[in-house]
Symmetry: C2
């Protein structure tokens, strides 16, 4: 069914309020879920709401905290998320390091004990629209196999980057897995075969069966190089945040375990960036003006397509599956 | 021919001394070139020496400078490389931000007007073996086409990451192009076809002809995601360093133009990293212990293979093509 963004926002917010989430934090959490739906990223959208509520009920999420901040040196903020809502803890940390970076030039938040951040592009745009650059990393449960391996050993480990530019921030947000587990689940629901390059089964053999892939491991994107990158992000985040690593990570896919992954935000406030913003916009336009290769309608800049989807969905409504919506409505009326 | 590392070092250093490079800087520059040869990365090795000398003679490289440092805030070092030797300017910048990060927690060097850094893994290992984490980026001439495009618009834009770990630092160093232009040149020299996925010709069509590819554009690694990443690095570096962007970049492949690309080094000194170093080593061993997929002898961690190559070459000598060696010997006797 297609619902207006306002309706989705209203019902989801009510569900969180009923679960005991403070008003402002409920609205922020819904901002993240709704923005993902608007941009066509359902795996980070409202299908996560039920689990968020369940985790609060199971006391593995504390919806009232913004986390504890300890400065190690002037520019490194160690954050104990205290099992707070991902976006709530993240925004409190980002606000602190954005302010600090205005004097130090760069600042980092190393966050442990925090819940799922949601779609990281949201944070990258927010920081970049305020004139600073953001580099964000987060880890997840081990879902990705090593290149040349069989077993899930690495998280889907996304990276988001936001850079000030005219007329809008330049943002990328991408997992280092080839596809998301959400895409595999989606194929399983529709009993539709997956390409054998996407995933391995539980014995570590390539499979076209999405049901078998769900118990196996997803391929890294970009083969050996992408594997190296996802692994580096796993290690970098664990090292800086003293969070769990590899197969020890829990809490972004279940409703019962404390979330022990890590998040790293690096904000850079360089005087050069203001002067460069216009030139970056011109460069991106030059790329868009390139003649497309066979099979492509145009050359896209990251973010172009999700921006179109967003405009369309603000106008025409957001598609939400009946099962997910029924569940959310029930939570709002609980 | 195979030469001992000592012989390569001796003759290359002499060549640089004869070109007017101060003694310590000549040794540092050769460190970078030799380390690339030892690890089987010839594109960043001694074949670059002749151009380095030519650039000094053409006065587009000043071998005597370590660059000019201006602190913007306590943790952001803006460096004007003053056309110095890549490694010389880079090490002066790294030393400064590594020291600063010990008190601020994180520090960044944004470097413009610097020459080619060489193999970035060298810097990542150096910083990580000293107990800090390094994230390094650098741009290059536009050699890579957009995913879905035809024209070279993006640099090969490598990323290097180094994290303290036991028994040795964890390091990745990878370009965001699918292959290097060096690999394409190498196939051209041997008149050997390249896979059509590697590159486009000058009209932007896939080609198996390495000669045609040399005038065209290399594919990004990892298709749309890798393109997004390489593009993000292009923009991030240009934004922070106020350096040239896209097709305006010069100076890493020619002998006559000032090098106007940018380099960014981020050093992080987090108390958590010391405690995590052992656990990271154990995690990497767990990945190595995974059963390899069909067609793989073992599961490798980034750096494992180049370490083996290095041990072998220290023992058996470094292969250098006759043409390159003849040129270097001539420069040493000039």
């Amino acid at each position: 069914m297609d619902l207006s963004a306002e309706e989705v926002r209203r019902v989801c917010t009510t569900a969180l309020l009923r679960a005991g989430v403070p008003d402002a934090y409920a609205r922020l959490q819904v901002d993240l879920l709704l923005e993902a739906e608007l941009r066509g990223r359902p795996s980070h959208g409202v299908l996560r709401l039920a689990r968020i509520v369940e985790r609060i009920r199971n006391q593995v999420t504390n919806p009232s905290t913004t986390g504890e901040h300890i400065w190690e040196g002037q520019a490194l903020l160690a954050v104990d998320g205290q099992a707070g809502l991902g976006p709530v803890v993240a925004c409190a940390a980002l606000d602190a390091i954005e302010e600090r970076a205005r004097s130090t030039g760069i600042a980092i938040a190393a966050i442990s004990n925090n819940n799922h951040l949601g779609m990281m592009a949201w944070y990258a745009e927010r920081t970049a629209s305020r004139g600073s650059t953001l580099l964000a990393l987060s880890t997840s449960e081990a879902l990705v196999h090593a290149w040349g391996g069989r077993r899930a050993m690495v998280g889907t480990n996304p990276i988001a980057i936001g850079v000030p530019a005219v007329p809008r921030p330049f943002v990328i947000d991408m997992a280092t897995s080839l596809v998301s587990m959400g895409q595999i689940h989606d194929h399983a629901r529709r009993d539709e075969a997956i390409p054998p390059s996407w995933a391995l089964d539980r014995d570590g053999n390539p499979t076209s069966d999405p049901h078998a892939a769900r118990d196996g491991a997803i391929a890294p994107f970009g083969e050996a190089k992408g594997y190296a990158l996802g692994l580096a992000f796993e290690i970098l985040v664990a090292s800086l945040t003293a969070s769990a690593i590899g197969r020890d990570v829990r809490g972004t896919l279940d409703a019962t375990e404390i979330c022990n992954k890590g998040d790293v935000f690096i904000v850079i406030h360089a005087s050069a960036s203001g002067a460069m913003a216009r030139g970056i916009g011109a460069y991106l336009d030059a790329i868009r003006a390139d003649i497309p290769a066979d099979g492509f309608r145009s050359v896209a800049i990251p973010g172009d397509r999700s921006r179109s989807v967003r405009e369309a969905r603000l106008r025409d409504g957001v598609p939400v599956t009946d099962a997910v919506w029924t569940e959310i409505v029930a939570l709002a009326e609980a």
